[in-house]
């Protein structure tokens, strides 16, 4: 069991002494000290013997679960039949599935995610239906029209009340994000070559009805794609351009009422097909046909289309928009005609199945196997979801404390101060989830000396992210090494090179000097590590010259201002301190965020501290680092990497794509176009006396799924 996972579940404080390799976990009233490789442990001052010694795997300290958990006061229950461990601590419960020895790596990752999501706990107790779910939001939707919402109006605040009304052929089912059919009945047929095009047939569900009573059929799907192609995805901008690529999709035809055939111009990769075209929201033909017809008759069809005021939307996602009281709230009502409320998702150790108790619809993934590890209702479970506008965070959190709202949708999560304030409230539950994004130090590889790999590696070596995160930032961030954060379990490569791992500050300087020297760098005065006051001090180097004898210019590190992001600001100050010790003249320059953005776009910078929020599918492996990509703002160029990134983008099955993704992450960690600094987990708050979610801990948190309106039960 990874020590950190367990400790963070308990909320325990963890310290790690690199010299003695001792891990200490502390909870009020409990203290456990373990040493890597040693079978002796100290529990509350008493020496005990472990059944197996703690070991380090891929940088994660693994501890015997039962010993550690019981020492911390957790009840541990193991069921041989279901191969499940149940942990009960105070009011928390977690269920871990232990995969069979032959289970795939994906299952292991997924069951770890499942353990975090606390799925098992939600299973208990009967599901109550009905009630009003009140969500606090900070901005109004920009539009009530789905086309505009996915186009120019694509903000969290617009999508939150709109997306629960719609559905695509396929989707990623939370909390594990299994790729599964939604409006489709089964997986699409394998892609076939037909003349100079490629084709695939998608079977559609026969049991679905739009909120206006019209049956869902192939005509809706054909209409949606034909209309988008006719108007031009590039003109629609926003999400349309990236989901429906006109370079890939030629046309869609109905085979019969309940199956459609896609004609593609090329063999698509996962990102273009499974995560692109097939995940496009489908429109109701009867409702939208006149709207498009009117739009096509005008000079600027997109403008006319986006100006459409969709007061009475026709929905298929389970909810339907009922009222938008501008400046106050947006109300969703459960669609009485929807069959999704009687639908259940059953996650197996491998794959999943979907069962509809009302219509008899059944789907199971081809790879399904192993015991059921979690079951959730598709929902909606509540009758109404109301998104209430608050113009300040203070106002929203006061309303949460007063019980006027059940949850605050806050994409940046709770600030430390607010967490402390809410933690004392008996009816409010705080939850922490990993985020799919990272902060990084980026190099402009077009410029000297950032174009020198050894230079970048040396800088990566002196940055002690682990130490900074634990001591200065008190564990508010999670240091990471790969460009795919660990929260995105399936795609994250845990075995990438970590520069200077396990070294102390002065050892890192020595190592960096060694890297620079072996690449031909020279100094007038080399940096020295000298003993001082029981420790070591670093005497700064002077006059660093490149392998060709050229002196290094003064370098600037652009970083957001403390007001915009105190964490990145703090990191920039430390990076400056560490890098300066090497004799590099680096100045951290707090800069307005928009200005940083402009400079990056113009490739006019030396180094930058930036951040990204990512999609589920790690397409950024291609987009940020491929030499042909317009998003490659660090101008990183590597023929070897381009090959791997191309293979990744072209892969048409998950396992193959994953292998290439791992390889790409390994190369990037070695070449360091980015020094990946950290990911910050998101902390959120909800009223545990008023609502219960099917799951709470999920990648990007509850806000990542727009407040989970479908998966919430209103209590009372």
């Amino acid at each position: 069991m990874p020590f950190r996972l367990l400790a963070s579940w308990l909320g325990a404080q963890v310290t790690y002494d690199t010299d003695t390799q001792t891990i200490t976990g502390t909870l009020p009233g409990h203290q456990v000290k373990l040493q890597l490789g040693s079978r002796t442990a100290t529990v509350n001052g008493v020496v005990k013997t472990l059944p197996v010694p703690p070991i380090s795997i891929n940088g994660h300290s693994m501890v015997p679960l039962r010993f550690f958990a019981e020492a911390m006061g957790v009840d541990v229950h193991w069921s041989e039949k279901t191969r499940r461990v149940t942990l009960q601590w105070r009011n928390k419960q977690a269920i871990l599935s232990i995969p069979q020895a032959n289970a795939s790596a994906q299952a292991a990752v997924q069951s770890a995610l499942m353990a975090q999501s606390g799925l098992g706990a939600a299973q208990t107790g009967p599901k109550k239906l009905g009630g009003v779910y009140n969500v606090g939001v900070f901005e109004e939707p920009k539009t009530n029209n789905l086309m505009a919402a996915l186009g120019t109006g694509a903000t969290t605040w617009t999508l939150a009340p709109l997306l629960p009304q719609y559905a695509a052929l396929y989707g990623n089912v939370a909390p594990r994000f299994d790729w599964a059919p939604v409006l489709a009945a089964d997986t699409p047929s394998p892609i076939k070559e037909e003349g100079n095009l490629y084709t695939s047939v998608v079977p559609l569900r026969r049991d679905l009805v739009w909120s206006d009573g019209v049956r869902f059929s192939a005509a809706d799907v054909v209409f949606t794609f034909s209309s988008i192609l006719q108007i031009g995805p590039d003109k629609l901008s926003g999400n349309w351009e990236s989901t429906v690529s006109a370079d890939v999709l030629a046309r869609v035809e109905a085979v019969d009422d309940h199956s459609v055939k896609f004609y593609l111009k090329k063999r698509p990769g996962l990102y273009e097909w499974q995560y692109g075209i097939l995940q496009t929201s489908i429109l109701a033909k009867k409702h939208w046909e006149p709207v498009f017809a009117k739009a096509f008759a005008t000079k600027d069809p997109v403008k006319t289309l986006y100006a459409f005021d969709d007061i009475h939307p026709v929905a298929i996602g389970g909810f339907v928009g009922a009222r938008w009281e501008k400046g106050a709230f947006y109300e969703l009502k459960k669609d009485a005609k929807s069959v999704f409320p009687s639908e259940t998702y059953m996650f197996h150790e491998n794959g999943m199945e979907i069962v509809n108790s009302d219509t008899g619809f059944h789907y199971q993934s081809t790879d399904m196997g192993g015991p059921v590890t979690g079951t959730i209702k598709a929902g909606p479970l509540a009758d109404t979801a109301v998104y209430r506008l608050f113009l300040s965070q203070n106002a929203a959190y006061l309303a949460l404390q007063k019980g006027e709202i059940d949850y605050v949708l806050n994409p940046s999560g709770l600030a430390k101060g607010t967490q402390t304030m809410l933690a004392n409230h008996g009816d409010i539950q705080l939850v922490q989830s990993p985020q799919n994004g990272f902060r990084y130090l980026g190099f402009n590889c077009n410029r000297y000396p950032m174009n020198n790999k050894a230079f970048r590696q040396a800088i990566a070596t002196v940055i002690d992210s682990e130490w900074l995160a634990q001591t200065i930032l008190q564990g508010t961030v999670e240091p990471i090494a790969s460009v795919v954060p660990p929260g995105n379990g399936f795609w994250h490569n845990p075995n990438v090179k970590e520069w200077g791992k396990g070294l102390s500050e002065h050892e890192r300087v020595k190592e960096a000097v060694r890297i620079l020297k072996s690449a031909g760098f020279t100094w007038d005065k080399e940096p020295q590590v000298v003993p001082a006051r029981g420790g070591y001090a670093v005497e700064e180097g002077e006059g660093l010259k490149g392998p060709d004898g050229r002196a290094l210019p003064r370098l600037t590190l652009l970083a957001p201002t403390a007001a915009y992001d105190p964490l990145r600001f703090e990191y920039a100050q430390w990076v400056q301190t560490w890098v300066t010790a090497l004799g590099i003249d680096l100045r951290a320059k707090p800069t307005d965020f928009n200005l940083i953005s402009d400079k990056q776009n113009q490739r006019d910078y030396d180094m930058v501290i930036g951040g990204w929020s990512l999609g589920l599918y790690p397409n950024h492996l291609w987009a940020f680092f491929h030499s042909q990509s317009s998003m490659n703002r660090g101008s990183y160029r590597s023929a070897e990497y381009d090959k791997v990134a191309d293979a990744f983008a072209a892969a048409d099955n998950m396992e193959e794509a994953r292998q290439w993704a791992f390889k790409a992450q390994a190369i990037l960690a070695e070449d360091v176009p980015y020094v990946v600094l950290y990911a910050n987990p998101i902390v959120e708050a909800y009223r545990k006396d008023k609502v219960r979610y099917e799951f709470t801990q999920v990648l990007n948190g509850i806000q990542g799924l727009y407040g989970l309106p479908s998966s919430v039960q209103v209590l009372e």
């Binding site: 120019t152 009222r323 400046g327 109300e331 106002a395 006027e404």
Partner: protein, 391 residues
């Protein structure tokens, strides 16, 4: 009469010139901010540069600044404020119209309330100059006038809404009531504004008629009070008949705290201004003369002293009404009252140029009109200005 017309014409000409400079300056200051509207997508890996570029083309941001400015000017001259970027393709005018009733209801109620309180208290203070009442009120006035407004607001919210639960926390309506409402809040707000306008108009007209007929023995005569009572009762009855009174009441209930807090921090200024103006008038010879003629004290106070000290206060009121249209970012934020102030702030921060400039232009025009009205009102109140050749 011709002099007055010439005066108006000259003032309008000046206003147009100032307005042109104002919008040009605003335009270029906003344009000079780093980044553009598409910068909000900068950290999102899903939005590719191609998508951003197509957005820029759609919004005309790919054109040189000069061309963009010319397009904008042409829009303004044709009376169109253009289309908002952030709420594309909603016209700027529609967005302003949406938040306008909310802004007016809140800030006009507060301004009028603070003016009434400030004026009557200030008058009494000057009249009883040096008394304990005067000293105490001066201290209260200065304290409130200089108090840090957000703190006062937050304390009031915390105490009255959160702890005592007498008033709502924030917002302008209660969703639970409005989910099934047959009318929109926008309609009700507009209805409330019209009703208030009619009722106040009636009261004002009666008041003026009564003063002219009977002179001012008292501040409010019998007819004024009677008409006020009837008008208010009639309005309430009409609203009740249509069944909308509970929606109007809900808004009024939500209005309570922000209006009181706003009035609390601003009446001090009006009060002290009235007091000073009144003290100055009380020293004039004509007051002594009026007293010598045996005119009752109350009439001396209200008809002679107060009317003349009204000038600076009315000027200040008119200007306040003009600037109130811009709303107040702090008030709107703290009370979650989405008015024009927030629209302006949000638009400026997200570089939604058309909306930001549209809102600035709108508030600018209003403020300038308020200045003009203040001048006209001054002329109406002060006969000396009418005979002045320099008009």
């Amino acid at each position: 009469m011709i002099a007055v017309l010439r005066f108006l014409l000259r003032r309008t000409g000046q206003m147009l010139l100032v307005l042109f400079c104002f919008i040009t300056l605003t335009y270029f200051v906003l344009q000079a901010m780093p980044g553009d509207f598409t910068s909000i997508y900068a950290g999102n890996a899903q939005i590719t540069p191609e998508v951003l570029a197509s957005l820029q083309v759609r919004f005309g941001l790919d054109q040189p600044v000069g061309v963009q400015y010319w397009r904008f000017l042409r829009n303004v001259l044709t009376g169109s404020l253009g289309v908002s970027f952030s709420q594309y393709p909603t016209p700027v005018w529609t967005i302003i119209k949406q938040s306008l009733p909310r802004t007016c209801v809140l800030f006009y109620s507060a301004t009028v309330l603070s003016f009434i309180c400030g004026f009557s208290l200030g008058k009494s203070m000057a009249w009883r100059r040096g008394s304990r009442f005067d000293t105490a009120m001066t201290a209260v006035g200065i304290t409130l006038y200089t108090a840090f407004y957000p703190l006062v607001a937050f304390i009031c919210i915390w105490l009255f809404a959160f702890q005592l639960r007498w008033v709502p926390l924030n917002g302008f309506i209660e969703p639970a009531l409005w989910r099934e409402a047959p009318v929109t809040s926008h309609q009700v707000l507009a209805g409330m504004l019209y009703t208030a306008l009619v009722v106040l108009g009636l009261i004002g007209a009666t008041y003026l008629w009564e003063r002219r007929r009977c002179g001012a023995q008292r501040m409010f005569g019998r007819s004024t009070i009677g008409v006020a009572a009837v008008a208010v009762a009639l309005a309430v009855a009409l609203w009740s008949v249509y069944g909308y009174i509970r929606y109007a009441w809900d808004i009024a209930y939500h209005l309570l705290t922000p209006v009181l807090v706003l009035a609390l921090v601003s009446f001090g200024g009006n009060m002290l201004l009235t007091r000073d103006a009144m003290l100055e008038t009380l020293g004039e010879d004509y007051i002594t003369a009026a007293r010598a003629r045996g005119i009752p004290e109350r009439a001396v106070r209200d008809r002679y002293a107060a009317r003349n000290s009204l000038l600076p206060v009315v000027t200040s009121l008119t200007l306040s009404l003009g600037s109130a249209i811009g709303g107040g970012v702090v008030t709107e934020t703290l009370f979650s009252w989405p008015g024009l102030g927030r629209t302006l702030l949000q638009a400026s921060l997200s570089a939604d140029l058309p909306l930001a400039i549209g809102a600035f232009l709108f508030t600018g025009v209003f403020l300038m009109v308020a200045h003009l009205v203040a001048d006209i009102v001054n002329v109406a109140l002060d006969p000396r200005l009418r005979s002045d050749k320099r008009l």
